[in-house]
Point group: C2
DNA sequence: CTAAACCTTGACGCTCACGTCAACGCAAGC
DNA sequence: GCTTGCGTTGACGTGAGCGTCAAGGTTTAG
């Protein structure tokens, strides 16, 4: 299958797929005219990347999962490196939740009363 | 006070202050040699901007607060526009909290078992 | 034969809040 | 007079994950 079909089946764009390749997440053999040719297996890889991005992992963080699938495992998160990423992300999420709860309380307080109030330190939770 | 002193007293940089000015958040009269000259009042404005950024508001969102202070109010969030920003932000934070809790449960589940699991839709909570 | 619909690489655009030069002027201490 | 440390404007860089041309080659349907 060529890049357009893979993109359509994965619900993404050719640009994204080329970007993944440039990042070393995806590989493709080339046909004689230089077109990329993908296998069914690659659809699985793309879907893995997408679902991980959906939970807020960076592309960088998806590497171990892709490698895990490439290594032949049935699921991308059955390898130690992948599970470590999960743990790191969980810690991040927990920290973010704490922070957002603090912010929430601050906002609620400011909306309820009009008293000056001490402000927390910094913020930059993403994902 | 000149820009360097204001930056130091506010714990920020001259670059940031010039940027605020370019965004219309801060104004300064100029001395004969072209140097910016700030009043004590401006320190208050900068602090307001900083504390709002600390709770995750964008610079754009700090405008009403700054305007409120400029209008002579004792606190930047005593004006309707400011309070509206608070409400919008609170809604954002709540949505983000929901999303992060979903993500958290997903991560915990994946770490606990190794079963395949349906993945949520999209993510992009910031602040 | 031609137009449409694919594919290729390369390169700039986007968001946000500045950081980091570059190249210069001004002021003060020695 | 020279250095040091202020200030000025302008312009490009940063990160993430692509979007969006640009300028071409290829394949297929009519």
């Amino acid at each position: 299958m060529r890049i357009g079909e893979l993109a359509k089946r994965a619900g993404t764009t050719t640009r994204a797929l080329r970007f993944y390749e440039s990042e070393g997440l995806l590989e493709a053999r080339r046909t004689s005219n230089g077109y990329r040719e993908y296998a069914e297996h690659d659809l699985r890889l793309v879907r893995e990347i997408q679902s991980l991005q959906a939970v807020g992992l960076s592309l960088e963080d998806t590497r171990p999962f892709v490698a895990c699938l490439r290594a032949g495992h049935e699921s991308g998160d059955s390898c130690p490196d992948s599970r470590e990423i999960y743990r790191r992300k969980l810690a991040e999420v927990d920290a973010c939740l704490d922070r957002l709860n603090t912010v929430r309380e601050f906002l609620v307080a400011r909306l309820a009363f009009q008293d000056p109030c001490v402000v927390p330190e910094e913020i930059q939770c993403s994902s």
